[in-house]
């Protein structure tokens, strides 16, 4: 039999790497063993790599806070002897205190922000601009147009931007008018298009119409040819999980959204418990498995899918939080991470560090963070300090064992980004009017965790996601209803909500003025 060929150091490192990653085949393990048996230097290299692996593991763990070296329940479910369990508990306390002292309460949190710029959907092309721009595809964005700019929507409508229009090209068949006026013409029988303004939508069922902003609240709709339907928004969520449908036998780990039946899959760290409102709610146990994954609503690109919002967004939930409030501890309520086009609502504390995306800048410390990517601005977080100042709650107030109501919302028509707690707006920041939300895409959204490292601790119920900003009156009303044990809103009929309701129909030559907020004709 031939002697085995000695492996190079590089080969041994590759084999050892595959071995410790659990990827090595039987043949590779055998070759590694042979090399280690033959050569003390190979064993040394192997031990060095294992040592590095273990040091990295330790280093990574030290970011996340106290970890007991002796866990009381092992993976196989067997328990330690009672006496040792007591010791382990005591040890865990000692270890936790030691960690806290050694960290000085200032250890930075390593959270994972996916900063990639994922592909964004193309919604239209520019026409009539300068030579460079003509025919250029555009993603959801707001155009501040001169007289000669026009676009062709992905759905086949020609849109002229007039009177210094400020126009959000939000999707392939819809846009939002923030200023000036637009003229929409369908180019063929299959084409379709709608112009929205807050609670109002004008959709073309004929050939051409013009929408002109008269003032901050009013729009004049003129139909030039054919017919246009004027609609008002049905102010109901795009998705809503009441968690009342949990079937302990048939589907103990799935809950369906009441609007579109998007399922939420529950991790092992989530249990169905008695509802804050209705029959069910979810208890999150602060472990890596404490996660409810929304299994759907995705798109291939950013800007696509059910969980893609454009002109506005609201995230609403009821919760009982047991968040520590400590430095480095993040508790997620909701997160969808499509690269840097993420949406999040989470409790955060970066210790003495200023949060990277905070706008406006706030003092370091515990906060409730509402993160959103706005086209033309980028990803920013509205970090509401939990400091008890100016009507803001403290950590203690939000972790008092009681139920709290949260709404985080953004409205591109007013530029207001705000967080409300228990029915009252507590913190707000205003950005320039007309910035569209960029979100949605291929990554699954989660309730109660992110990558297993930011688990929520406590109970979450009645999670609603809207594609518009709830008003202060609606937020107060939702809180009042929830406090009485009722749903946020009356459910008129079972099944999907219709997002828009026809209120008027105009034909060629007619002009009518509507209030964009109330959707009433003047």
């Amino acid at each position: 039999m031939n002697d085995p060929i000695p492996l190079s150091k590089a080969d041994i490192e590759v084999l050892a790497g595959r071995y410790i990653d659990g990827c090595a085949t039987a043949d590779e393990v055998a070759r590694l063993e042979q090399a280690l048996a033959m050569d003390a230097a190979a064993r040394r290299a192997f031990l060095e790599l294992c040592n590095l692996d273990s040091a990295l593991e330790h280093r990574a763990t030290s970011f996340s806070g106290p970890i007991s070296p002796v866990s009381v329940v092992r993976s196989g479910g067997r328990r330690l002897p009672r006496a040792l369990a007591g010791v382990a508990s005591l040890f865990a306390v000692v270890a936790a205190v030691a960690w806290w002292l050694s960290a000085g309460g200032r250890r930075p949190h390593t959270t994972h922000y996916d900063d990639r710029a994922l592909p964004v959907v193309t919604v239209a092309t520019i026409h009539g601009g300068d030579d460079v721009d003509d025919g250029r595809p555009i993603s959801p964005t707001t155009l501040r147009a001169g007289a000669s700019v026009a676009i062709r929507s992905g759905s086949g409508a020609d849109i002229d931007l007039l009177d210094d229009a400020v126009y959000g090209v939000s999707s392939s068949d819809e846009g939002a008018l923030f200023g000036g006026s637009v003229l929409a013409r369908l180019t063929g029988p299959a084409a379709q298009y709608a112009v929205t303004a807050s609670n109002l939508r004008i959709t073309d069922v004929g050939t051409s119409f013009r929408v002109e902003r008269i003032d901050e609240e009013h729009l004049a709709v003129t139909v030039l040819d054919g017919t246009a339907e004027v609609q008002s928004r049905v102010r109901r969520p795009r998705c809503f999980w009441s968690f009342d449908d949990m079937d302990p036998v048939m589907a103990p780990t799935i809950s369906l959204d009441a609007v579109r039946s998007l399922p939420v899959d529950l991790g092992a760290g989530v249990a169905a418990v008695e509802g804050i409102v209705g029959a069910g709610a979810l208890r999150f146990d602060n472990t890596s498995e404490a996660v409810a994954i929304i299994d759907g609503g995705l798109g291939e690109k950013v800007g696509e899918g059910t969980l893609s919002m454009r002109e506005g967004i609201s995230l609403e939930a009821l919760f009982v939080s047991r968040w520590s409030g400590g430095a480095g501890d993040y508790d997620e309520l909701y997160r969808k991470e499509d690269g840097n086009c993420r949406v999040l609502l989470s409790f955060q504390n970066d210790g003495v560090s200023h949060a990277a995306f905070s706008e406006p800048r706030v003092p370091p410390g515990p906060c409730l963070s509402f993160g959103l990517h706005l086209a033309g601005i980028g990803y920013r977080e509205l970090d509401m300090p939990l400091d008890g100042e100016d009507g803001r709650p403290t950590v203690a107030a939000l972790t008092d064992g009681q139920v709290h109501h949260v709404v985080a919302s953004y409205d591109s028509f007013s530029g207001r980004k705000s967080i409300a707690i228990d029915g009252v707006k507590r913190f707000e920041h205003v950005v320039p009017v007309g910035r569209l939300v960029l979100c949605g895409g291929p990554q699954r959204a989660t309730i109660g965790n992110h990558l297993g490292i930011e688990p929520f601790s406590g109970v979450i119920d009645e999670v609603a996601i809207y594609d518009f900003a709830l008003t202060t009156e609606e937020i107060a009303e939702h809180f009042r209803r929830a406090s009485r044990g009722e749903r946020y809103f009356e459910v008129e009929s079972p099944g999907p909500f219709v997002p828009w309701r026809a209120i008027d129909r105009l034909v060629g030559g007619q002009t009518r003025v509507f209030n964009q907020r109330t959707a009433e004709a003047r």
């Binding site: 659990g22 064993r43 031990l47 273990s54 993976s75 196989g76 990558l451 490292i453």
Partner: protein, 174 residues
């Protein structure tokens, strides 16, 4: 065991635990298995602590206990996995005890070398080593396939090892 010995055990174990974990980790291939072995080690150390003499080095004593627990783990659960043989693990365990001081020093240089990585690489590598991290998720979020991510991880570890070795040499010369 009386209260004073219990307190002594806690103090000794607390001081030695990172080293014991590192020692076990060098010998057990999968991170997910380490906690199981460590728990057995902790149980045996606790049971055997009355036999431990105060003049002994607790760490070395614990390493000896850990070696047999690792071997027991290989015997009981390692056989159905792609693992090194028990005989090889025993050799490695003895090597690791002999090399403990040098391996311990290596760990001291990790932070410095991590600091030399691109911040994104540093963050990604630490995220991938978090106890709860699923490589599939981390790989997807980094825009790589699982196979591609492991290759990247291999390159990062090699970079770090080279850096650590260079830092150690520099330190020894100084």
């Amino acid at each position: 065991m009386d209260e004073s010995r219990r307190v002594e055990f806690l103090a000794q174990y607390k001081a030695a635990e990172p080293a014991i974990r590192a020692h076990v980790r060098r010998l057990v291939p999968l991170r997910s298995d380490v906690d199981d072995v460590l728990q057995e080690v902790a149980v045996v150390l606790w049971r055997k602590f009355p036999q431990f003499r105060p003049e002994e080095d607790f760490r070395r004593w614990a390493f000896g206990v850990a070696k047999y627990e690792v071997l027991a783990w290989y015997r009981d659960r390692g056989r159905d996995r792609m693992t090194l043989s028990g005989a090889m693990v025993e050799i490695l365990a003895d090597d690791a005890i002999r090399e403990d001081s040098r391996l311990h020093s290596q760990r001291e240089f990790l932070d410095r070398c991590l600091g030399k990585l691109d911040p994104r690489d540093r963050q990604l590598i630490l995220v991938s080593y978090r106890p709860a991290a699923r490589i599939q998720d981390v790989a997807a979020r980094s825009g790589r396939s699982v196979g591609g991510f492991y290759q990247w991880l291999h390159r990062m570890r090699k970079l770090l090892l080279d850096c650590i070795r260079a830092e150690m040499q520099r330190s020894e010369k100084a």
